[in-house]
């Protein structure tokens, strides 16, 4: 990459310098958070109180607490007082237990207008903690393009104008590594947060977190993808946040009992190394191994979630990526010591389109979600094209999931005559048109043409198509795969009622990180009743929220399982791994928590986040409404494609004989039944969570779980 660091630096204008006293992390906590206002260049430290730790634990809990204090009831995503908060958690940054390097980012989302949270690998969050801060909040808006630099070795922070640095992340990260590392050895100590040119106008902007790969000699990127935080970042005119920290050791958390952390971590390392190849193959191909599994179970989103499998999906199987593109045999973890190592990489990948055409680049991926969203869901059965879309989404700062899902919506609109070349400015969106899909992506990168409309996401497109083109809103609501304004991630949920609610009730919108219940529900029939499903919709979202409080990745929890896991009482919970988390948490923090205590930590933050959305005006059952495409067949074509299944269910479950009925009638009967089922499950799940029928947490319940915060009660009282 060609750039002149001295020329870039010559244009810098220092706006603010701040010094802080370096202190060791104790028992997993730095004890301070960092506040930066880029509107007035105020920088200050805030103390983490024992009360804050007790109620909010860390990570997302700290982020949301700081955010609650920063915004007001009317704050919108682009209000100056909106914040971008970044944290790890007390377990975060340990180098022994696989998956301990996650950062979590929160903000008010341009897509949903409520708090979004998105977790991400890379080195930034742990380096931030070891530099001295459990979390950082960025508030205000800058007039000019700026960079925030945190020198975690010398206790200095700078805000400076940076007019000439790149906006696209793969270039920006390389520039920062060159600018702030004094030698090759130090490059691994520099980590960045950045967005991309696509985030300038699109609402589906993501953040890239870098980590320098010493073997490949390249700054690789992981994404905090969901909910448009990259858009907020660019709206504030931030080019990037850079941290340098050089002191990482095997006990930077100053754990109370480092031996237990080491032993528990080593036990999991050995389990992964022994079992991964016969289980999920994360070390070999990463999450992309899911493509063929989802296709086999009719769960792989195809043609905007109409279908769950396709013969051509073999061209997107993990073998294709492994054999043709991925570099083999290197430690691909996005944090030190992660032996699950799922962050696969295609090196020296030649780009065929766009502003970097002809460049040989490193593409981190593809993750399963990108293959599903930007491949099968669009009918693009071409691995090279999926990788190219993956690369450009990343460097432009765009979420591959939202991009894939909203482009699938565009293609179905095209298929139904809602769009034509006149309306798209010449782009053709027939299924599988990779050329124009990439051109749409480049238009979003440039902020022009149909890209300006599409980049705002599915919900805004529905408004535009209805208003400008007279499109049928009901049909678009049925097929537009968004809820709360956020695009769905990449699973077909039609045959799993529990997963429909897993998506629908997810606080930030339909992302699967709260609950993934399809196999339990649909394949293994382990949660047959409403109460069973409601219990699963309580336990799993609460348990999985815990990862975001701690700086942990979810994958080492159940993407590898102990050999005897199937023989345990509750194999879906992976009891041995839950105990590992209890042991590591206690060993680092010195607490004496039980597994039930961990759930309570999550439940407090979960209910706080729910209450936060209510405070911003988003409440009632309508908040958890989902598009019918996620519940059942919208069109006759879909029904007829799985006619035996749907006819069988009509007879066995609904008690109506399908004989003599035409497809339109059968679609309507199925729909009525499925929509009623969803409503019943919502009610059951709300009850299990301690909420009213309108989805409002009760004060009694919040007191029971230790979320005894008067400000929250005041918000909820208005709706109880």
């Amino acid at each position: 990459m060609n750039f002149d660091i001295d020329k870039l630096k010559a244009k810098h204008k220092m706006l603010k310098e701040f010094s802080f006293e370096k202190k060791e992390v104790e028992k997993g906590y730095a004890g301070k958070t960092l506040y930066i206002n880029i509107g007035n260049n105020e920088i200050k430290e805030k103390t983490v109180t024992e009360e804050m730790k007790k109620i909010f634990t860390g990570g997302k809990g700290f982020n949301l607490k700081l955010m609650w204090d920063a915004v007001n009831d009317d704050t919108k995503w682009d209000s100056p007082e909106n914040v971008i908060n970044i944290a790890t958690g007390p377990i975060g940054g340990n180098t022994n237990y696989a998956g301990s390097g996650k950062s979590i980012v929160t903000s008010i989302s341009p897509l949903t207008n409520i708090p979004i949270d998105s977790n991400v690998g890379g080195y930034f969050g742990p380096y931030l903690k070891f530099a001295g801060f459990d979390a950082m909040e960025i508030q205000g808006k800058s007039e000019n393009e700026i960079i925030i630099y945190i020198d975690g070795n010398n206790g200095k922070i700078q805000i400076f104008e940076a007019p000439d640095e790149a906006v696209d992340s793969h270039v920006f990260a390389e520039q920062m590594v060159e600018m702030f590392a004094e030698n090759e050895k130090e490059k691994q100590h520099v980590a960045t947060v950045s967005a991309g040119t696509g985030s300038n106008t699109a609402y589906i902007g993501c953040l890239n977190f870098s980590f320098y790969d010493k073997r490949r000699k390249v700054a690789r990127l992981k994404q905090a993808g969901r909910g448009g935080i990259g858009t907020v970042f660019r709206n504030k005119k931030i080019k990037g946040v850079v941290i340098k920290y050089s002191g990482l050791t095997g006990d930077s958390n100053n754990a109370v009992d480092v031996k237990t952390v080491q032993d528990t971590g080593l036990k999991l390392h050995k389990e992964i190394i022994k079992l991964d190849d016969s289980q999920c193959k994360m070390r070999k191909v990463g999450t992309a191994h899911l493509t063929e599994i989802m296709n086999e179970y009719d769960l792989l989103p195809t043609h905007n979630y109409k279908f769950g499998s396709h013969e051509e999906s073999k061209h997107l199987s993990s073998d294709v990526f492994y054999n043709k593109f991925l570099t083999h045999g290197l430690p691909d973890g996005c944090w030190y010591g992660c032996t699950m190592a799922c962050a696969k990489t295609a090196d020296k990948f030649e780009l065929l389109t766009g502003p970097y055409k002809g460049d040989l680049v490193t593409v981190d991926g593809p993750e399963y979600e990108t293959v599903g969203g930007c491949g099968s869901n669009l009918g693009i059965w071409d691995a090279q094209a999926v990788l190219e879309i993956n690369f450009y989404c990343d460097t432009y700062g765009l979420d591959t999931i939202s991009f894939g899902t909203m482009t699938a919506f565009i293609m179905e609109c095209w298929d139904n005559g809602i769009l034509d070349k006149e309306k798209t400015g010449g782009l053709v969106f027939t299924w599988g048109n990779k050329k124009d899909t990439l051109e749409l992506l480049h238009q979003i990168g440039r902020g022009e043409g149909f890209g300006l409309i599409a980049g705002k996401g599915t919900r805004k497109m529905k408004d535009h198509f209805e208003k400008e083109f007279g499109a049928d809103r009901t049909f678009m609501n049925d097929i537009g795969m968004e809820a709360k304004g956020l695009e769905y991630s990449e699973y077909i949920t039609k045959e799993s009622l529990a997963m429909q609610a897993g998506y629908g009730l997810a606080l930030k919108g339909p992302q699967h990180d709260e609950a993934w219940l399809i196999f339990m529900d649909m394949v293994n029939n382990q949660i047959p009743t409403f109460e069973d499903k409601a219990e699963a919709l309580h336990y799993f979202p609460m348990f999985r929220t815990w990862f975001g409080l701690q700086g942990l990745c979810k994958l080492p929890w159940n993407d590898v399982e102990p050999e005897n896991n199937a023989e345990t009482d509750e194999p879906n919970k992976v009891p041995e791994h839950v105990q590992n988390y209890v042991d590591v948490f206690n060993a680092i923090t010195g607490q004496n928590a039980t597994k039930e205590d961990l759930l309570l930590q999550s439940e407090r933050v979960y209910n706080f986040q729910k209450s936060f959305a209510i405070r911003l005006g988003f409440h009632g059952r309508k908040q958890d409404a989902i598009p019918y495409r996620s519940m059942g067949p919208v069109t006759n074509e879909e029904y007829e494609s799985r006619v035996e299944r749907y006819d069988g269910q009509m007879k066995d479950k609904i008690g109506i004989d399908p004989k003599g009925k035409n497809t339109t009638e059968k679609v309507a009967i199925t729909r009525k039944y499925r929509e009623e089922q969803y409503e019943k499950l919502m009610t059951a799940a709300y009850k299990r969570r301690g909420w009213t029928k309108d989805g409002i947490p009760t004060i009694e319940h919040l007191k029971e779980i230790g979320l005894d915060v008067p400000e929250v009660f005041e918000v909820l009282k208005k709706h109880l």
């Binding site: 022994n96 050791t249 095997g250 992964i272 430690p331 973890g333 030190y336 032996t339």
Partner: protein, 131 residues
């Protein structure tokens, strides 16, 4: 070329001299648990001598390039780069990337030959051979 400590377990008498020599050299204390070579009694009354055979499987596992292979083919651990993640310990097929209680950084045989020189029964030998 591969330099490594070759063992002849049938010659071992279980005197433990090697462990004393190794731990004293590396850690300045006579502590068998801090020896890169271990003397382990087997079921038949003989002895096993697990020690690193410099197979290099651990090397690509290291994120920080703390593990490298020197000109003689010996896997070397740079303690200043190691962040104690133990990925190398986990992947070691012979369980000879060693750890000890609260030590953050693991340790391993560097084929220095000190133990072989002192072994009274000729059970240890430094060899250099093509692999």
């Amino acid at each position: 070329m591969k330099k490594y400590l070759k063992t002849y377990e049938e010659k071992c008498t279980g005197c433990n001299t090697c462990m004393t020599v190794c731990s004293t050299l590396f850690f300045k204390e006579d502590n068998y648990e801090k020896s890169c070579i271990q003397v382990v009694k087997n079921e038949k009354g003989g002895f096993l001598l697990p020690v690193c055979d410099q197979c290099e499987i651990c090397v690509p596992e290291c994120h920080t390039l703390a593990l490298t292979v020197n000109k003689k083919g010996v896997v070397m651990l740079n303690k200043s780069l190691c962040i104690g993640c133990y990925a190398c310990v986990a992947i070691c097929p012979t369980d000879t990337m060693m750890t000890y209680h609260n030590l953050i950084v693991p340790f391993k045989c560097t084929a220095c030959g000190a133990c072989a020189k002192e072994c009274p029964s000729g059970a240890l030998e430094i060899v250099e051979e093509e692999r």
